[in-house]
């Protein structure tokens, strides 16, 4: 008996059953498909709507959740899909119960607050469902190799638009672009300088690329690219933000798909960041916890690709010129011109593609305020598209595309719902408003399955790209800031202006950002106050509904944990290096003035110097000069360097003045390598829902400590003055 119940055996059977069901030839026929759909819909409706007494509901949920816990031990998309359906059912059942049974209509105040919360929950439900649809089955597209005969390869114009960034930021990008493996006469590299700076033109001339300027700055980056499109004629257009340095293999990996799919209008690759974003820097999680963008580039875009709904992200992508011409160039109606451009091309029936291989790397935003500014722009732009060119309506898109694009936009409306969740419990604790008309036990019986399944399933699907509960922190940090612009854009899409994301700045000293953290502090204060009042309610005033008091107090504790983490994010840590050090193991050789040499490997590199791991017993004096050999496409390259730091087994060197050729060589030996970004996430912890919660709790505690320090600093400063 035991052998039959053996899990592997059962799993094998389940898999076989699943496969035979999928491969059943009857599915080719419309009738069985329709019948199955109707049967499934009826069963689904029963699962979410059949009323149950509390014990039965608890029993039913326990069985389903136990099955999910059992299944998650196995890999495979089929298991994931089953878990997704469990989660969808549990959440839908919860939402159905909330709407039909728990909205108090006794008085208007209760009704108002109840409706606000339910609406926020319905929003979360819709986004959860669409999210599952988007990410259930990532396409994981592989590159198509280019034909051997390079004379058949198409011509490419490579644009590097810039407006106010420093030449030192743009220079490496141009040099990396020059290192791309592509026939020289078929790659046309152009800096599009909207700042019309003479030093850019001079630099372009010195390295042999073009630099275009235009008379005005209309439509910012989109207008800049459109102006350049008129002056060029390559069959394809590759676009890189001025700080995104491509690897040498970028075009060879991406262009193949254009040759096999004549309807392909755009191929996007991930935006990879070699420097920590404000979350990673201020929480010190760089390369340990997946960053905010990784869910999007690691999973969502790959999932979109299944539905032929990958969208253009403004950089690290190639577009087909004829398709761009058909829609009149890059879209200029909204501030997220990139997503809108892809949408317009897809409406004409063109395909888009996503290649999940990091083939370029750039700088993340430097401070939380810059990060917030960037996200405000994205949120506003997406809301604008939702308003002026809603993907749910209009011609040209298929069902999957409509849903994927809609979710991409709907996602940015999380501002208000997130704040509702962060403030909901205080409506009871402050004013005794019963926003959920049910006993605490029934709330638990319905909401726990919903929460547990959602976390378990998302951890399985997204865990590699986002750790559990981190979304709450990311959203809480931005909620207030994107709430207003999305609302404004929805009402009048023309309001608001384009703001450029600042990159390459420094943070002089550690400080608590009092300006950006205002909304967190307000929400935090309200929750703390709510909790204190809750103590009074629990002990004296509301002892007759102790369960409700405790439920709301637990909710505020959870909110405090999340808000504590936002405080930690708002504590800007010091950042003094102008060039970022990238941890990477590259082969190197030290060539000493006395003719000796040491073979070693790098620990990290930057455009200004590197750290090297040297053998036992080897040491040099600080200030000694030497040559460091690195290896790239053109073989060995030497860089004159000076020792600046010596530790046991580690030697840090700074490059001496490099000439243009040496700078180019340095790029091709480091960030230009085809494989340089591929093992980026190797050292990372694996996600588990409880671990995610632990991580957040840890950062939250740190946040409170740092906030305390910030408060002390502020106090001392005021005392002095």
């Amino acid at each position: 008996m035991r052998s039959i119940l053996n899990s592997r055996y059962l799993y094998g059977r389940l898999n076989e059953l699943g496969l035979s069901m999928v491969n059943w030839p009857g599915w080719e026929n419309k009738i069985p498909r329709a019948l199955a759909l109707i049967a499934a819909a009826l069963l689904f409706w029963a699962a979410i709507s059949v009323p149950m007494e509390l014990p039965l509901q608890a029993f039913f949920s326990t069985i389903i959740f136990s099955s999910a816990l059992y299944l998650r031990r196995y890999t495979g998309t089929l298991i994931s899909l089953i878990m997704v359906m469990f989660s969808v059912s549990a959440t839908s059942r919860y939402i159905y119960w909330r709407i039909t049974y728990t909205i108090g209509t006794d008085n208007l105040v209760d009704l108002f607050f109840a409706l606000v919360l339910v609406m926020a929950e319905v929003y979360a439900w819709v986004v959860l469902l669409l999210g599952y649809l988007q990410t259930a089955w990532p396409l994981k597209r592989k590159p198509v190799m280019m034909p051997a005969d390079t004379s058949t390869w198409p011509t490419v114009d490579l644009f590097i638009p810039t407006y106010n960034e420093d030449l030192s930021v743009v220079k490496p990008t141009v040099m990396a672009a020059m290192g791309i493996d592509w026939p020289r006469d078929k790659l046309n590299i152009i800096i599009l300088d909207d700042g019309r700076r003479p030093e850019f033109a001079a630099f372009a001339e010195s390295v042999g690329v073009k630099c275009y300027t235009r008379a005005d700055n209309n439509h910012a980056k989109a207008g800049n690219i459109n102006a350049a499109l008129k002056r060029t004629s390559g069959e394809f257009v590759a676009i890189f933000d001025c700080d995104h340095m491509p690897t040498r293999s970028f075009l060879q990996y991406t262009m193949g798909w254009f040759l096999v799919d004549p309807k392909l209008s755009m191929i996007q690759t991930p935006h990879h960041f070699l420097s920590p974003d404000p979350f990673e820097r201020n929480l010190q999680t760089f390369r340990n916890v997946p960053n905010e963008g990784e869910l999007f580039y690691g999973l969502i875009q790959d999932g979109n690709d299944l539905w032929n709904a990958t969208f253009f992200c403004g950089s690290c992508a190639v577009l087909r010129r004829t398709c761009l011409d058909e829609i009149g160039g890059i879209a200029v109606e909204t501030v997220t011109e990139d997503a809108h451009t892809a949408l317009k091309m897809q409406r004409l029936g063109y395909n888009t593609a996503y290649l999940s291989l990091p083939q370029a790397a750039g700088l993340a935003t430097e401070s939380l305020s810059a990060h917030v500014g960037q996200r405000i722009r994205w949120a506003r732009g997406m809301a604008q598209i939702f308003r002026v060119d809603n993907p749910l309506f209009g011609r040209g898109l298929n069902f999957g595309q409509r849903l994927c694009y809609s979710n991409a936009m709907l996602h940015f409306f999380y501002g208000l719902p997130r704040m509702v969740f962060l403030l909901a419990p205080i409506s009871y604790l402050f004013f005794e408003v019963h926003i959920i008309k049910a006993s605490a036990l029934s709330i638990a019986a319905y909401s726990l399955p919903h929460l547990l399944h959602a976390n378990l399933t998302n951890s399985r699907i997204q865990g590699q790209h986002r750790h559990s509960f981190w979304a709450e922190v990311y959203e809480a940090t931005l909620a207030w800031y994107i709430f207003r612009p999305t609302l404004v854009a929805l009402i009048n899409p023309k309001l608001g202006k384009f703001n450029v994301t600042a990159k390459g700045g420094l943070v002089q000293e550690e400080h608590f950002d009092w300006v950006i953290s205002k909304p967190y502090l307000v929400m935090l204060a309200l929750n703390v106050l709510g909790f204190l009042i809750g103590i009074g309610r629990a002990l004296w005033w509301n002892t007759y509904e102790l369960d409700t008091v405790i439920l709301n107090m637990l909710w505020t504790i959870y909110n405090l944990v999340i808000l504590g983490a936002t405080l930690a994010v708002a504590t800007e840590t010091k950042q003094v290096r102008r060039t970022h050090r990238v941890r990477a193991t590259l082969n190197a050789t030290l060539r000493l003035p006395n003719g000796h040499s040491i073979v070693c490997q790098t620990e990290d590199f930057s455009m200004g110097g590197m750290s090297l791991k040297v053998p036992d017993g080897f040491t040099l004096e600080k200030g000694e000069t030497l040559l460091v050999s690195l290896y790239g496409t053109n073989g060995e390259c030497l860089f004159p360097s000076k020792v600046i730091f010596v530790k046991k087994n580690v030697l840090s060197v700074q490059f001496l003045e490099l000439d243009l050729q040496q700078e180019k060589d340095l790029i091709s030996c480091t960030v230009g390598r085809a494989d340089v970004w591929l093992n980026w996430s190797d050292d990372r912890n694996i996600d588990h829902p409880l671990n995610g919660l632990k991580e957040i709790a840890f950062h939250s505690a740190q946040g409170f400590v740092r906030f305390g320090e910030g408060l002390k600093q502020y106090w001392e400063k005021n005392q002095k003055s």
Binding site: T589, R591, G595, H596, G635, C637
Partner: protein
């Protein structure tokens, strides 16, 4: 027996050093390695710790019974070597005269060593065409030409190429030959240019990892050890390792 001939079109390229270092590197792969010095300079032995005043060798007048076996020295680096021997001019002429008279001179002596099928023999030859090189090319399975990154080395390639082809033509057991650049200095423009020219003109025959000029190589010789024992982390050690890997990958020298 797998015979590798180490050849150079002209003197001073560091052929003997490459031979010695390559031999000790191959020995580390677990092969039984015998190195034969056919260069009258008799310098190979110095890399393996043989005393200067020891005059024994295959060309020496006092070689017992004329058997090579009796000239075989064991080194502490996993390599057995046959020194040429310190000889005067008269003895050398006498020795070379004997070689001329016997077309299979080298083959018969190698066979007399009683090596097995998989053992590797490295032979160091005098620079340029010589009576020794003729004999060696008739038995070699692989030719390794050592060059130096200068114009003279570059210009001698056609002549050495025709020489190799002349003596190995039609021999099924000759697997091929390749070139390695020694004393590379990537900080010198000329060296880089020669490297680039060699790579494009020699194609697959050019081993793309050159051996760098390295002070450790000269110092190792002064200490009479292979460089990999003298300076484990030096660039030259690494380069010889690459050379070994390349030969192993392309010819499968060692089982």
């Amino acid at each position: 027996m797998r015979v590798v001939a180490v050849i150079s079109p002209k003197g001073g390229v560091g052929k003997t050093t490459v031979t010695a270092n390559l031999a000790s590197s191959l020995a580390r792969l677990g092969a039984v390695i015998t190195v034969l010095d056919l260069d009258p300079q008799n310098a190979l032995r110095l890399h393996f710790g043989m005393p200067h005043n020891d005059a024994t060798g295959i060309a020496a007048r006092n070689l017992p019974q004329g058997k090579w076996r009796n000239a075989l020295h064991e080194s502490s680096f996993g390599v057995d070597f046959l020194p040429y021997g310190s000889v005067d001019e008269k003895q050398r002429e006498h020795f070379e005269h004997a070689i001329r008279a016997e077309p299979d001179w080298l083959l018969s002596h190698l066979n007399s060593l009683g090596l097995s099928e998989t053992d590797v023999v490295l032979i160091d030859t005098p620079p340029g065409p010589s009576i020794y090189l003729q004999q060696v090319l008739k038995v070699a399975n692989i030719g390794l030409v050592v060059l130096k990154p200068d114009a003279a080395s570059y210009s001698t390639i056609p002549s050495i190429e025709s020489l190799i082809q002349y003596y190995t033509k039609g021999r099924k057991d000759f697997l091929g030959y390749c070139y390695v650049l020694n004393q590379m200095d990537a900080s010198k423009q000329l060296c880089r240019d020669v490297f680039g020219m060699l790579r494009s003109s020699l194609g697959d025959r050019f081993i793309p990892t050159a051996i760098h000029r390295d002070e450790a190589v000269s110092e190792a010789l002064a200490c009479q050890t292979p460089v990999s024992y003298y300076a484990q982390h030096s660039s030259a050690t690494q380069d010889v390792k690459y050379l070994t890997t390349w030969l192993q990958k392309n010819f499968g020298l060692v089982d």
